[in-house]
Amino acid sequence: MSALLKRREFLLFLAILLLILLVRARFPSFGSPANLAAIFHDSAILIILALGQMAVILTRCVDLSVAANLALTGMATAMLNAALPGIPVGLLLLFAAGMGMALGAFNGILVWKLALPSIVVTLGTMTIYRGSIFLLSGGAWVNAHQMSPAFKAFPREVVLGLPVLSWIAIAAIAVFVLLIGRTALGRAFHAVGGDEHAAVYTGISVGRTRFWAFTINGGLAGLCGYLWVSRYAVAYTEVAQGFELDVIAACVIGGISIAGGMGTVAGALLGAFFLGAIKNALPVAGISPFWQMAISGAAILLAVAFNARAERRKGRIILKSAQSAAPVIQSSGAAS
């Protein structure tokens, strides 16, 4: 039990439970199974993106271009559907995931082959991808009436009591549990972020591992591009603007260390679900939606402050006497 209490994921789970119970005490309709399913459905895209971002952050990188990738792929998919309404949804899904992967792989190649810092690369590709939407669409919107009925219906079709969008999120969670826990690539993500040099000596290619993290993340972003555009039935240049920070926030709240090497699938899932629960609880509790941003900011800071305590034990000081003589320092810094 005490070991369970020390796990950040469990504490986060308790925090979410507490939040739901608190709101439920005043508003009994909140937190019912149907309501929880609705919150999960509402957070599905954030959950999928948080999983992908987790893979990238585990390798001690960060991808700021996910939201732009999502928007560009979403626009391309919507335009493809508008031009050729007969294309089956399955092909569109493949197209979206493939295009997203290509955009993610471009980030990955730059990080791998030129060893450029990921934050700068993705800052650049974020503006390039976002601008490309305008070039592609000429600034025009793709509206609901231009999309085929099948295109719009797919994510909300109910299968076994849950909409397809929720099932996709569940599938992504299952795949990530296997990928991170049961494959060599998953272990490599942890190894590269934990200690780059040790990973090299173990025979892991740091660049190639990061490349795959970016490619997988890009593929998920592309998939979410279709899901987003189809769910809201509109595609325009500013779709999901700034959403990359929500995704990173979900990861951070979920206890995934921005310094790399630490984090779990459960953490990413709970972090995203926590943000989704807050977003859904505010209107129920009658609080202005304008509070949402400040609350999620405070949640991020609390989560980071809490996680920092656990991370400080990393590394060992060999010369104890020098440490006691020297001023206390922390090795914090901008991520690579």
């Binding site: 960060v62 700021l64 730059l110 030129l114 060893a115 450029l116 810092p117 934050i119 700068v120 690369v121 800052l123 650049g124 590709t125 974020m126 503006t127 390039i128 976002r130 601008g131 490309s132 939407i133 305008f134 070039l135 600034g139 240049t237 603007q241 700034g242 920070l245 990173i248 926030a249 951070v252 921005i258 310094a259 202005s288 304008f290 509070w291 949402q292 941003m293 400040a294 609350i295 999620s296 900011g297 405070a298 991020i300 800071l301 980071v304 402050a305 920092a308 400080r312 020098a322 020297a326 001023p327 320092i329 922390q330 090795s331 914090s332 810094g333 901008a334 991520a335 690579s336």
Partner: protein
């Protein structure tokens, strides 16, 4: 300005190749700036008009003010993603104060003061609690802008006094705007601070190796705190200029500006991993970004498409030296 006689030249590194490369970086930026300038002058007959050029400086003056402090912060190995949100909070504070009848001097003090306080809060999180700056400032970015939204909702503040408009719309001499003059003064101040003082040397020392710096007696935490406060203060000053220029406040003011500021700093040759960079480079990058935005604007290229150029420029400018290095090998 007469400088004290320099005692003895101590090189930064034993092999000068790094310095030489740094020099060639600024030369490269200067060449790019000159090329864009010439291209713009040829492409549009309206480009060389002094009033047009003066107008164009508004594209970058506010961001460049923040970039000065951000450059110091990034050289020290930290980053501040909350500057856009600080602008919003400072602007909302000024708007709220105006509703209570505060006059121009008070408004400026409030704007700069809120910026400084936000910076101090960031500094407390990073230097005091030891949180990684990238996530701490993602958090405060949501928090600061969130507070701005709570106060203002979907409304707007306006009705600033006429004398307040001078900061964003006034001219100091001829076609030279107040903002440009302020930026020039600040650039000199920051240039001297970074390249001519002990404080500046310590910033480089922290950025290269914070542990080694601490062991050599540099007060790492105090300097980090100071740098975050400076960045907050510059965001506050930029907020005064921006609010004065727009004449109104909305909670979405300055949204996404942090990324443009960071692009400016990185384009200016500051290593995102810390430890190197110059103020001259950052100012040249600001000029380049301003010229691109203005030139493309004259050619009726929409803003989103301009951002593609900036993105390509950012990536190619950092990728080029690495590519050349690989080819030489």
């Amino acid at each position: 300005m007469t400088m004290a006689p320099t005692p003895r030249h101590i090189p930064d590194r034993l092999n000068g190749s790094f310095l030489r490369r740094l020099k060639s970086w600024e030369t490269l930026l200067l060449a790019v700036a000159a090329a864009i300038f010439t291209f713009n002058a040829l492409a549009s007959p309206y480009f060389l008009d002094p009033w047009n050029l003066s107008d164009a400086t508004f594209n970058f003056t506010e961001k460049a003010m923040i970039a000065l402090a951000m450059a110091l912060l990034i050289i020290a190995g930290e980053i501040d993603l909350s500057v856009g949100a600080i602008i919003a909070l400072a602007s909302v504070a000024m708007g709220a104060a105006r509703q209570m009848g505060v006059e121009t001097t008070g408004l400026v003090l409030i704007g700069a003061g809120v910026g400084l306080a936000c910076g101090a809060f960031n500094g407390f999180l990073v230097a005091g609690l030891g949180l990684p700056s990238i996530v701490a400032t993602i958090g405060t970015m949501s928090l600061f802008r969130g507070i701005a939204y709570i106060i203002l909702g979907d409304g707007a503040y306006g009705g600033y006094p006429a004398s307040f408009a001078w900061f964003g719309q006034g001219y100091v001499w001829g076609a030279i705007t107040f903002e440009l003059a302020l930026l020039a003064v600040l650039a000199v101040v920051y240039g001297v601070l970074l390249h001519g003082t002990n404080f500046g040397r310590r910033i480089y020392a922290i950025g290269n190796n914070a542990t080694a710096a601490a062991f050599s007696g540099v007060r790492v935490r105090r300097i980090r705190m100071t740098l975050f406060m400076l960045t907050g203060l510059m965001a506050g000053i930029a907020s005064v200029c921006l609010t004065s220029r727009l004449g109104s406040t909305r909670p979405s003011i300055g949204m996404g500006m942090e990324l443009e500021v960071i692009t400016m700093v990185v384009l200016g040759g500051v290593a995102i991993t810390g430890g190197s960079g110059t103020i001259l480079g950052v100012m040249l990058a600001a000029l380049i970004m301003g010229l691109i935005t203005f030139g493309l604007g004259l050619l009726n290229v929409p803003g989103v498409v301009m951002s593609i150029f900036v993105g390509i420029l950012l990536i190619s400018v950092i990728a080029l030296p690495r590519l050349l290095e690989r080819m030489r090998r």
